[in-house]
């Protein structure tokens, strides 16, 4: 039986330097429940160290967590990677770290707080997570796919850090799984503007609790799994994006 799942698959935590400290696992999950979100994607900048805390806390709530990461390419394009298990995203994270130069300046960019499910501070991530890694767009998409993940270009309508702002247009040979638009633009506006050859989704890119669910996409799926999401992107076996 297929049913509708409400998904916000681009949500930051207090680990992103630009994410508010109030983006604790508890606050994130409460807000998601309030917004009746079935699936949350946790995607911090160039890191996934707060995914374990979200997975742990979500066990007692009716919300499924997709482990994720938002990688900044050398072209300064943001790309979401979504995975069906923690191990995959943590392995990918090591590849990103190996290609991510610099150290964070907390005064300039903000704190990067790694927490447990209770929101207790475990450590501060010292890396320059706001920076760009030295991997190209294509290398990152390949890397995400090599860990069986889905690769989505973030907020393509934005004037910075987007596929369109950095590269002018969507490269025809790109093998992304979907394109994300920001809450600033509607699905139909995006269709007119980009005439995309890839599925369009809209997520919140929340950096503050109240932004969670501000934008979302509904999917017709059998269950909340990455395999089902992949089928919906490919419009197969009845699975689909509900626009």
């Amino acid at each position: 039986m297929l049913r509708t799942f409400k998904a916000d698959l681009h949500v930051h935590t207090c680990l992103s330097p630009c994410g508010e400290l109030s983006m604790s696992p508890h606050n994130i999950i409460l807000r998601a429940v309030e917004e009746k979100i079935d699936i949350l994607g946790i995607c911090d900048h160039n890191t996934a160290e707060n995914v374990p805390a979200l997975l742990a806390i979500a066990q007692t709530y009716p919300v499924t967590i997709f482990p994720g990461i938002e990688i900044t390419s050398q072209e300064e394009i943001h790309i979401l990677g979504l995975f069906d298990n923690l191990e995959a995203v943590l392995q990918l994270q090591e590849e990103v770290y190996a290609h991510l130069p610099g150290e964070n300046d907390e005064d300039a960019f903000g704190l990067q707080v790694v927490v447990n499910a209770q929101g207790e501070v475990l450590r501060f991530n010292p890396r320059l997570l706001i920076g760009a890694c030295t991997l190209s767009l294509n290398e990152i998409v390949d890397l995400i796919h090599s860990f069986a993940g889905l690769a989505i270009a973030s907020h393509i309508d934005r004037e910075s850090f987007s596929l369109i702002s950095q590269l002018g247009f969507i490269p025809s040979d790109i093998i992304l799984d979907a394109l994300e638009i920001s809450p600033a633009i509607t699905y139909h506006q995006a269709l007119n503007r980009f005439a995309p050859h890839l599925p369009l989704v809209s997520f919140s890119d929340a950096h503050r609790p109240e932004e969670i669910g501000q934008s979302f996409t509904k999917f017709l799926l059998k269950e909340a799994s990455l395999a089902e999401l992949r089928l919906a992107f490919q419009h197969q076996q009845g699975r689909r994006i509900i626009h």
Partner: protein, 113 residues
């Protein structure tokens, strides 16, 4: 001033489009945002950038640019070079920064006026 003269004055390494250097260059444009180049680069200008993605070739073609100078010693990959050969877009390399090569190009073009 022709692209050929500019390449020689600024010591640019020509990697593609070597037989398309006779075009008169009157202006330059320095930017790493391709959307900005599409919106604002003057026609027939020489574009200075650190981007090496294959899309730079399409933008140069779309805007009828004289060529692309890639800075900081960055090397475009084979796909970008192949596309530039197909589209006959001159790709020129320099180890200089965008700031320095832009300054030198500006001086050169100002002198020619």
């Amino acid at each position: 001033m022709t692209l050929k003269e500019i390449a020689s004055h600024l010591n640019l390494e020509i990697i593609t489009g070597g037989d398309h250097l006779s075009l008169e260059v009157k202006d330059g444009y320095t930017s790493d945002l391709l959307s900005d180049v599409i919106a604002h680069a003057p026609p027939a200008c020489l574009w200075i950038t650190l981007q090496i993605h294959v899309n730079i070739v399409a933008v140069a073609k779309l805007k009828d640019l004289a060529g692309i100078v890639i800075v900081n010693g960055r090397q475009p990959d084979e796909e970008t070079k192949q596309k530039a050969r197909e589209e006959r877009i001159p790709l020129l390399l320099t180890k200089e920064t965008a700031f320095r090569i832009s300054g030198r190009l500006y001086q050169l073009l100002a002198k020619g006026r």
